[in-house]
Symmetry: C2
Subunit: 245 residues, 2 copies
DNA sequence: GCATAAAATGAATGCATGTCCATAAATTTG
DNA sequence: CAAATTTATGGACATGCATTCATTTTATGC
């Protein structure tokens, strides 16, 4: 009838009928799961941001990468912007999820908590070529899109509080004057150092070294809290008891 | 003849004839200086990035803000991309120009140099709502545009070297073991702290305090070099002679 | 004050974009 | 197995985009 009857051709050429078994590896099989399509679109969005940049990430780019049709974006998201926000949100969730996992298997001393956060934040899983591009792409657009801004901060109140409590305990044990002020500054400074290392990774990717970044942070911390840190991290926690009691 | 004869209408309504004296303040007068038009386009580009974001910065946005016609962009720049690169370059030049000025009027002791850089980098002139949006917008696009990447780093080799030499002198005066290594780490750490404070300003603009940011950096530095820094900066340089001789 | 060059204009072009929607296939339900 | 529902498609549309260029205005040289 109309020129659209080649839908079925396309389907026959490129897709198979069942979710379970796919044959022609050319394209992905039909999915028939809205959750999976949503995830595919989000992943394709992030892929596009990584490979061609935020401003070249169009709906066409996204659906091509996801091997889906144009309409899908507006079937699962209100509009392109909502998809971008969902992608930002997804990235933030992955970041916190991964860090939380790592914290669960870590020790509970303040030094070990801090070491886990620092090494985790600088580790391959959270800081790599893909994630750094995504984070900075979103941050670059954050001020023009409030919803994205909400998810473009990796250092939220929960994490900040965790770090502060750890430093507060250490500062108290070290019997410093104004331990709370010291802990507050140490928290702010450590987060700034981590952010700075991320920026360094973005801008000087070739010369960046995770080991150096960690050593530098621990050097600053061991200068502030000599009895609790050394250049290799929170080794004081392992070698000697450090709580004041 | 053709519909274009209303050029003169537009001119008569909105412009005046002389470069020297403008009368109707409605629009800018004709300029007749290519340099000035270039600058206007660059400034308009930066304005647009600040106000509507990088991905909404179109040629139309730019020429409207500059009160120039569409064709001007391609008269003075090869294309839109070249204009964006020129804008990034301009921003970098302003950053270094301002910092260099401040360094010229500063003292020459290593502490004073470091204090000048730190306070300058965190000062209103270099770090404000406009500049932070511009820097992060460019950084967000940097990985998709090599030419922009070139100008999106505020911490280049010259500045890094200046900081390193200052720390090396301090470390030597303090007779530390491995003074060069310490100086290298202090340089990297200080730059990371500054970058982190910029990120903090971007993401938590409301709660950001320049004084706190500076105090935190000096707290870290005074822990590393207790004889040369205190919480207010490099006051050791003013109160007591600090060179080892 | 005329000729020439420089500066500036904005309509026109073609292409890419985000969104919509009529259609169709796959799956589930009754 | 038919009806209803869910999942998926891609052509069509209006809009906006970067870019081009014939034309006009202003400035400069002679």
């Amino acid at each position: 009838m109309d020129g659209r009857s080649d839908h079925s051709n396309y389907r026959a050429d490129n897709k198979v009928n069942s979710t379970q078994n796919l044959q022609s590896g050319d394209r992905q099989p039909r999915r028939y799961s809205s959750e999976e399509s949503r995830r595919l679109l989000i992943e394709a969005t992030l892929d596009s941001i990584v490979e061609v940049g935020f401003s070249s990430t169009s709906v066409s780019e996204i659906v091509t990468r996801a091997n889906l049709s144009r309409g899908m974006v507006h079937l699962y998201f209100d509009n392109k912007d909502a998809l971008l926000v969902a992608a930002a949100r997804h990235s933030a969730e992955v970041y916190y999820g991964t860090l939380s996992e790592q914290l669960e298997t870590a020790g509970s001393s303040p030094q070990e908590i801090l070491e886990t956060i620092i090494l985790g934040d600088l580790g391959e899983e959270l800081l790599n070529e893909r994630t750094i591009k995504i984070w900075f792409a979103f941050r670059g657009e954050a001020h023009a899109n409030g919803a994205i801004a909400q998810y473009s901060d990796t250092r939220d109140d929960y994490l900040r509080d965790l770090i502060f409590k750890a430093f507060a305990e250490i500062a108290a044990a070290q019997k410093m004057s104004e331990p709370e002020k010291v802990a507050r500054d140490a928290t702010h400074g450590t987060l700034a150092l981590l952010e700075g290392m991320w920026t360094d990774y973005l801008l000087h990717h070739d010369s960046f070294s995770r080991a150096s970044a960690a050593r530098i942070i621990f050097r600053f911390l061991s200068a502030l809290f000599p009895r609790h840190f050394n250049l290799d991290g929170a080794s004081a926690a392992k070698n000697q008891p450090c709580t004041s009691s």
